[in-house]
Subunit: 140 residues, 2 copies
């Protein structure tokens, strides 16, 4: 078995562009662009609006999956980029920072499928802070 | 905003029943049963086999999503039970312990959408150990 079977980014975007969070076409476009940026191969997708607001989207990729759940009333999106193989999920995060223009982003990187004495899951990084980097500058 | 918008269980099942891990009908049945046990309302699902082996499945629920990725060659399944509202994702885990009969289970419970000084994501529990509880006893 390889050293790790999966890299899972759990990302919290706060203070997002409200126009995007409840626009299913925009959310779909953003997630497809994220999959492409990460180097993933898309095999299926589901995007579902909820009443009175909010969207859930899942993209199944050959290398696992990406998901998004939006709470427009909170300016918040909860996203997972779960990949194996040669994908680079951090590039998907960069796409969402541009699309959502959040004020604040928190990222937890979890390694999965490990086979060492410490177990199968390991939180390798956990960062949070203002998101004025890629998103706002690139979009401005 | 409520105290937390989401409860996300990341679960690693090792030493699973190999007959289940590559049986797409069995995996679908198991995941639907897990959604029902958790009290979730299913809105869509995707189950995809991979060559030479392995299955990815995602169930979109009103309360977020469940996902499974199996590596039969490793006896391993990586599962996410991500819920909001009144769902009880731990009951979904109990269903999978029965279905997969793993030797070892590792669970990380992450709270999401928090709005406190420590941030939006918090690892609230992280447990691992032999899985002789619900799964093997109930099935035996």
């Amino acid at each position: 078995m390889v050293d790790t079977l999966g890299t899972h980014l759990l990302v919290e975007y706060h203070g997002c562009d409200l126009a995007v969070l409840d626009d299913i076409a925009a959310v779909r476009t953003m997630m497809r662009a994220a999959a492409e940026a990460a180097g993933a191969t898309v095999v299926a997708e589901v995007f579902q609006p909820f009443a009175p607001q909010g969207i859930t989207g899942v993209i199944v990729i050959e290398e696992s999956h990406f998901s998004v759940h939006t709470w427009p009333e909170c300016g918040y999106a909860a996203v997972d980029f779960y990949t194996c193989g040669d994908c680079v999920p951090q590039r998907a995060d960069a796409v969402l920072r541009q699309a959502l223009r959040p004020d604040h982003v928190e990222v937890m990187l979890v390694r999965r499928g490990l086979k060492d004495a410490a177990g199968s899951l390991r939180v390798e990084e956990h960062t949070h802070g203002p998101a004025e980097a890629e998103g706002r500058k690139a979009a401005g």
